[in-house]
């Protein structure tokens, strides 16, 4: 009888643990989903750039992209030589 009671108790404890685990996981998933929704909302809000894409703006943004790609290549090269 007492053994059964102990098993039942263990079961209760295990169940409580798993419920807590699920609720913890659920909370994290909910939080991630909420952040994702927030980011999507921001992306939607600013989806149409307000600045007119004049040639000057287009050239500047292209130059920026090239500059950043070059920087990344240099850093990757440095990392590669360090590791090697």
């Amino acid at each position: 009888m007492s053994e059964n009671k102990m098993c039942e108790d263990k079961g209760v404890i295990n169940m409580t643990d798993s419920v807590a685990d699920i609720s913890q996981k659920g909370r994290i998933i909910h939080l991630v989903k909420e952040w994702k929704r927030k980011v999507e909302k921001i992306n939607q809000k600013y989806s149409k750039p307000r600045l007119k894409m004049t040639p000057l703006v287009k050239i500047s943004l292209l130059a920026l992209r090239i500059y950043l790609i070059m920087l990344v290549i240099i850093l990757v090269y440095k990392f590669y030589t360090l590791v090697r």
């Binding site: 921001i42 600013y46 750039p49 307000r50 920087l71």
Partner: protein, 423 residues
């Protein structure tokens, strides 16, 4: 009749002065905070290495900083938006997220370097790093949590005034006035060697940092400045630029007088310079250490706020210092998390602090050109800026300075990654 006219002129001047004093703040704070722990180390090292030779160069950096920061004043006052939100709005989510994430990383790493400076400075007086970190965290929380922008600004201005400690410290050691005068004349007495080039790049690198653009624009918006306040904002920024170059020049005069020797002396950091000076002149050594702590504190205050404002603008959280923590919880949570995170990294044994200090320069150079280019493009948009858009003269200065900063700061970052490049 004439005395009445003088009286009215006097009354008008007093009224104008009062208005200026009420509106002054963001420009002075951002410029003085620009002389952060890293900045003070650069100036101290420049003085020890080259004596008074490059005082003229430091004075030139004032107008450079003014031209860039003045644009953020106009942009903030006209659009009523911080720089992060302005980038999202004008250039779309790709550049918006790039700037925001990059700003978050750069600011966090810079915050770590400010804590490194502050703990090193107070260690000279025997204060353990853990006490410094906890004390700074409590102080910064108390300053920001009182719920009024005006009070916050005035407290921070007191810390800015403490930065002037380098002036009496330099004056009491009786620096060589004729050598200082020679140092004010542009030239390269030792030739334009790789060492000279490296130090000039480092000084340029400390003049404009990405967080400064975001901080001043958000600060102008939080203060509620409008188009009619732009003139005062410009004056405020000009005063700040003057203030910052004076402090930098006196910091150089101090180490040039006490540490410079023919051939140049190499110092690792401002804290090392303060310790070296402390042996010969405890007052001046203490002044340098106190100044370094103050510089780190001002940097930490502004950098953590720049990130929190930017996050608040984009995510739509309440994000004003005028809000109490209960009214803007996410803004303050982000502020405290970055503060506590940076403090913990400094205290963790075995943290790669030297690597972080070097890495900051490299990461900053991925954001600075983008933020500067966005600034210039926004300031040239008539639909956005109306009559406050850049004039031809402003564009000539703006473009030249932005181009120079981009080239020199990129070269500086490359010299950090490849130290043999300029040796």
């Amino acid at each position: 009749m004439e005395s009445a006219s003088y009286y009215y002129k006097y009354r008008r001047f007093i009224k104008w002065l009062r208005l200026y004093l009420a509106l002054a703040g963001p420009g002075i704070i951002v410029m003085v905070a620009d002389n952060d722990a890293g900045g003070i180390t650069t100036y101290a090292a420049t003085g020890a290495k080259f004596g008074f030779h490059f005082l003229w160069f430091i004075l030139l950096l004032g107008p450079v900083a003014y031209v860039v920061q003045e644009m953020t004043v106009r942009l903030g006052a006209v659009t009523k938006r911080g720089h992060a939100e302005a980038i999202f709005d004008a250039f779309g989510p790709f550049w918006g997220w790039f700037s925001l994430i990059d700003l978050g990383i750069v600011d966090f790493l810079t915050l770590v370097t400010e804590f490194i400076g502050m703990t090193a400075a107070l260690k000279i007086f025997g204060v353990p790093p853990v006490v410094t970190v906890i004390g700074v965290a409590i102080l910064m929380s108390a300053i920001v949590m009182q719920g009024r922008y005006w009070t916050w600004e005035k407290i921070v201005l007191v810390f800015c005034a403490l930065n002037l400690i380098y002036i009496p410290a330099a004056l009491i050691i009786h620096p060589d006035v004729s050598a200082i005068t020679k140092g004010l004349i542009p030239g390269f007495p030792t030739g334009l060697t790789n060492d000279v080039f490296f130090f000039l790049m480092a000084n340029i690198g400390t003049t404009i940092a990405p967080w400064m653009l975001f901080f001043q624009q958000s600060s102008v918006v939080d203060k509620g400045m409008t188009e009619k306040d732009i003139l005062f904002g410009k004056l405020d920024t000009a005063s700040g630029a003057l203030f910052t170059v004076i402090v930098a020049a006196f910091c150089i005069i101090l180490t040039a007088t006490l540490l410079y020797k023919p051939g140049g002396a190499d110092i690792e950091s401002a804290a090392a310079a303060a310790s070296a000076i402390m042996v010969h002149n405890p007052f001046v050594g203490s002044a340098l250490a106190i100044g370094l702590f103050d510089a780190g504190l001002l940097g930490a205050i502004c950098i953590s706020l720049a990130s929190s404002w930017a996050m608040g603008e984009v995510f739509g959280w309440a994000h004003s210092i005028n809000n109490k923590p209960s009214e803007a919880p996410m803004f303050y949570v982000f502020y405290f998390l970055s503060l506590i995170g940076a403090g913990i990294i400094v205290l963790l044994p075995g943290s790669p602090l030297v690597l972080i200090t070097l890495f900051v320069q490299v990461i900053a150079v991925t954001l600075l050109p983008a933020a500067l280019v966005f600034l210039i493009l926004l300031l040239n948009n008539e639909e956005l800026m109306g009559k406050y858009k850049n004039t031809l003269v402003q564009n000539i200065f703006g473009f030249s300075i932005v181009l120079m900063i981009i080239i020199l700061s990129t070269l500086y970052a490359l010299s950090v990654v490849f130290p043999e490049l300029f040796k």
